[in-house]
Symmetry: C2
Subunit: 584 residues, 2 copies
């Protein structure tokens, strides 16, 4: 038996007990006549003491040689500490060592195994197994495990069945970002790894499974943006005989359960906002509603003077930034520069200081008088001391730019508190979106998303106006889940394919067996999928998902610890009836 | 709202309530003035009634047109049935329909959606989404979900952390059966799908995760034997600071928990048997101990006469088959033929009838007298009425042949009861096994399996005799789990690689980063992995795993529902810098 207790377990109630402990040497302090060693495992730290008065000289010598990250086992007696350490739960006791065994030595680790390490990102990733020993990383993985378990408990209690869908599936013509897997047994043929189990969960509904969920890896071979992974985890769910309201209720319940069990927070019923309102009020379909700075459209009160920049704009829109009227000229110039960065892309920015004395000072005083600016203040809800920022131009672009500024100011002003949670349903997404490249409409969600029944006739006259039974769950400015009610009847599906410009053959090629399945009594159904990596990070109060993944890949899709992907044997390729083609 | 209740919910306590139900038409009986419809969903069946006296003529007509597997929604009143059906929980009531909506029609399904279907295996697989509607399949998937959940509950309660390890890993030179995944972003390079997360779970132990588990898909691209799948699910576990005993206790606890929660069965502490004993007593390292017929080695009592077949054999071994002395000559001839089938491969079989009157009648009466045969009876534990079957030849081959016969007779005699559970630990597996092809020793489990400490010196003199800290959990004649204590120190590892004939370079190439990791303080650790597909099947009292997998592949590794694997676009291949090579 390697241990009688873990290193996070011993308290004053254990005083005078003989214990056996195992773990890693976190650090040691050698005061000559006394040596303290912090012994660490997943559960905590216990202070060991070797004391020349009570410890044999030979063991003192052995203890003196212990280095960081050595793995040791000790036997000893729990005694009271002279100087207590209130910052750790075991801080009232220490263990006077009577027997010391070195289970394994360790080279000096390439970075310190401390909460704050001196190791850079790349080094930490290369030695991820050492990085995981650090509390901040270890805690996040334990946290993730807890979230997954609570998800499963909640959904199981609601009669959901976790069904494992296959990983070796079929590549579809639209699957441009599929990872493919050559088969040896069926040489010359390929499986594909699923980008999501979408088809299978719909088949499970056709199969009467009624309530399905799965926590499942999904795969996408695409150019990675920061904080995306080629393999990622989804909480995938689908329900039969439901309307949108049933789904929102069920998964609002799940999210409340998580916030309560994981974060100890009770939240009210989630507000709902239409996609149109979200775009108008926040310039964004995943608004962070932890703070205000809502958009005010100013066309009416800003397009009646000689300021052509505004007069020619499709949209003039502003926000009141709290308590920033005191910004210096330099700070304001920097802010204008910020919105002009390529990542934001505004041409310029008009601003109005709403001074504490009630007067206004703006960059457009030449065109607008105090009464005009007072109207802007009223519209944006600005108070004395606030700074009004106004952008103008094409509607969608301008909204996106102002949204970026709003989020930036939210961050700068500390309004995006990680410990505060503001969930929000965004509903009534457009069914279709126009694709400039192919000059046709694409399904915004996917081709089985159902249109609002009463708007189906609009498909013929104003397709862009048709809304879908599609919804996103937004938490603190992040989309954590999204889904839709699916089309389950042939007639609507045929209509949809028609509007999407699919011929019957194309539709068959892409969705053949799902369409076949739908002929045998598909029930009304719908679902949702949550991005677990993101969800866990946000519940953990963090922006980056990387540390919530045990062995993440870098932005080039590489695992630098195991050095994958890598070349493979010619022999292996030959067995797959494949050959390399040199890059041109 | 599509339903107020499920179809398994209504009881007499609901009488006179107005309800809304949805589901599939299981069948209808049209008696002219009255029409009964069985409405089905995942939860059960509710009988609907349309009655010309109370139902409008128009609705009678509509009801008359309902066909099998139509999806309908009804409103109606719960009434008492005239003729109760005690075989279903809703059998005391029926619902008098007041409103009928056809949600979706259905083509006639290709096989009947009944417990006993007329559909053959291939048809059922092609239309798996319909097969899943059948109770026997649906119930198995729900059962699997329950088993997985109980595994997670038990292990979480024991402080195990579920950590997701990557699916896109690296192919190793030994990974001959790896599925590989070409990367587009890193064109010309490949990931591999894991055959198991073995390396990663050991890295997690190095990383201090202490207790890890994961229910995870694994992949193996090999010629499939019956009832193997290219993708399969493992309950993968690893613990640090443990000895073999800790692991056996923990996972015996898990298995007991499952048998109790899932099967409602309390089992005693699991017996343990060494590998050597299992081979000697059952000819098999995964014996089914639900029944006897233990092997008796007869060399001593059968090699003293002129029967050369026995005299020249390395092993003469027999079993007493209960109550089969009454077998006719024809039946006995058939049994001899059975052991001579190529799948078993015995040259012949000697048998002895132990007649009820105490006399013996054997195929070798010419060589052995009644006293000789009485000795055989004593050794095999035969009683009057039993049949003694004796095989002879090379030790291992003969054991395997007699084991096959024992299992066959266990099946024929109904001794392998699906509702009975006899778990067993098989321990002390050999560390190495001799490979005739490469003329060297291979690790029987894997190269990190630790030898019994006291036997390490034997490696130099009698490698085959060295036992490992390796163990299998056997349930009803199936290996459901297996694992080992790992080598965690450099010295033993170097010694092992040496005996396995790895040069330092080869070892580095295959296990490089794991060996690197081990230099930074690897703790003592060990683990186990369970085959979930098999475990679930056995707990469910079945032999075949196929129906416990939602979308299984056939013996050629094909998913015949989605028709995968399949050819992919030349364009897709070109992006991966690959080209097809025509088969020769």
């Amino acid at each position: 038996m390697y241990r009688s207790h873990t290193n996070g377990e011993l308290r004053q109630s254990h005083l005078n007990q003989d214990v056996t402990l195992s773990g890693w040497v976190q650090k040691s302090r050698d005061k000559g006549f006394i040596i303290w060693v912090d012994l660490r495992d997943r559960y905590g730290i216990t202070q060991l003491v070797f004391d020349a008065e009570r410890t044999p000289a030979e063991m003192m010598e052995k203890a003196r040689k212990l280095q960081r990250e050595f793995v040791i086992q000790i036997q000893g007696k729990v005694i009271e500490r002279e100087s207590k350490n209130n910052s750790i739960p075991t801080g009232n006791i220490e263990v006077l060592v009577e027997k010391l065994i070195v289970l394994n030595e360790s080279k000096t680790p390439p970075f310190t195994i401390e909460n704050e390490t001196d190791g850079g990102e790349d080094l930490r990733m290369k030695y991820r197994y050492l990085d995981i020993r650090r509390n901040p990383v270890k805690d996040k993985l334990v946290f993730r495990s807890k979230v997954s378990m609570e998800v499963r408990k909640y959904l199981s209690n609601q009669d959901f069945v976790e069904v494992e869908t296959p990983y070796l599936i079929k590549s579809t013509p639209e699957g441009a970002r599929d990872f493919v897997v050559p088969s040896r047994m069926n040489a010359g043929q390929f499986y594909a790894l699923p980008q999501s189990p979408q088809t299978f969960k719909q088949l499970l509904m056709v199969g009467g499974m009624d309530k399905y969920f799965q926590i499942v890896k999904c795969f996408r071979d695409e150019d990675l943006r920061a904080d995306r992974q080629p393999e990622f985890t989804q909480i995938d769910c689908e329900m039969a005989f439901v309307e949108q309201e049933d789904i929102l209720q069920t998964f609002e319940g799940l999210t409340k359960h998580l916030l309560k069990e994981i974060n100890g927070i009770k939240v009210e019923d989630f507000p709902r906002m239409t996609y149109d309102d979200a775009m108008q009020t926040y310039g964004n379909d995943k608004p962070d509603i932890r703070f205000g700075m809502q958009f005010a459209e100013l066309n009416e009160v800003a397009q009646h003077k000689d300021f052509n920049v505004f007069n020619e704009a499709e949209l003039v829109v502003g926000i009141a930034i709290p308590s920033c009227a005191s910004y210096s000229r330099k700070e304001l110039d920097a802010l204008v520069k910020w919105v002009q960065r390529p990542q934001v892309g505004a041409k310029g920015m008009v601003y109005v200081k709403f001074n504490e004395d009630g007067s206004f000072k703006s960059t457009v005083d030449k065109f607008y008088n105090q009464e005009d600016l007072a109207q802007w203040a009223e519209k944006t809800g600005a108070k004395p001391g606030d700074l009004i920022a106004v952008l103008s131009g094409e509607k969608n672009t301008t909204r996106a730019q102002l949204s970026a500024l709003r989020m930036e100011m939210g961050n700068r002003l500390g309004l995006r508190k990680p410990s505060e949670f503001a969930p929000l349903w965004v509903v009534d997404f457009p069914l279709l979106e126009w694709d400039e490249e192919t000059k046709r409409y694409h399904a915004m969600h996917h081709p089985f998303t159902s249109p609002k029944a009463e708007q189906i006739p609009l498909l013929a006259t104003d397709p862009a106006a048709v809304k879908a039974n599609a919804y996103d769950l937004v938490l603190n400015g992040n989309e954590i889940g999204g889904g839709s009610i699916r089309i389950h009847d042939k007639a609507t599906q045929a209509q949809m394919f028609d509007y999407l410009g699919f011929t019957e053959e194309e539709a068959k090629a892409q969705f053949g067996f799902l369409m076949d399945a739908f002929q045998y009594g598909a029930p009304p159904h719908g679902g949702i999928a949550f991005g677990l990596d993101r969800l866990v990070a946000i519940l953990g109060g963090q922006e980056s998902i990387r540390d919530f993944i045990a062995f993440p890949k870098n932005n080039a899709g590489r695992d630098i610890m195991i050095d994958a992907p890598a070349a493979i044997d010619e022999k292996q390729l030959a067995e797959l009836h494949l050959a390399k083609v040199e890059k041109k």
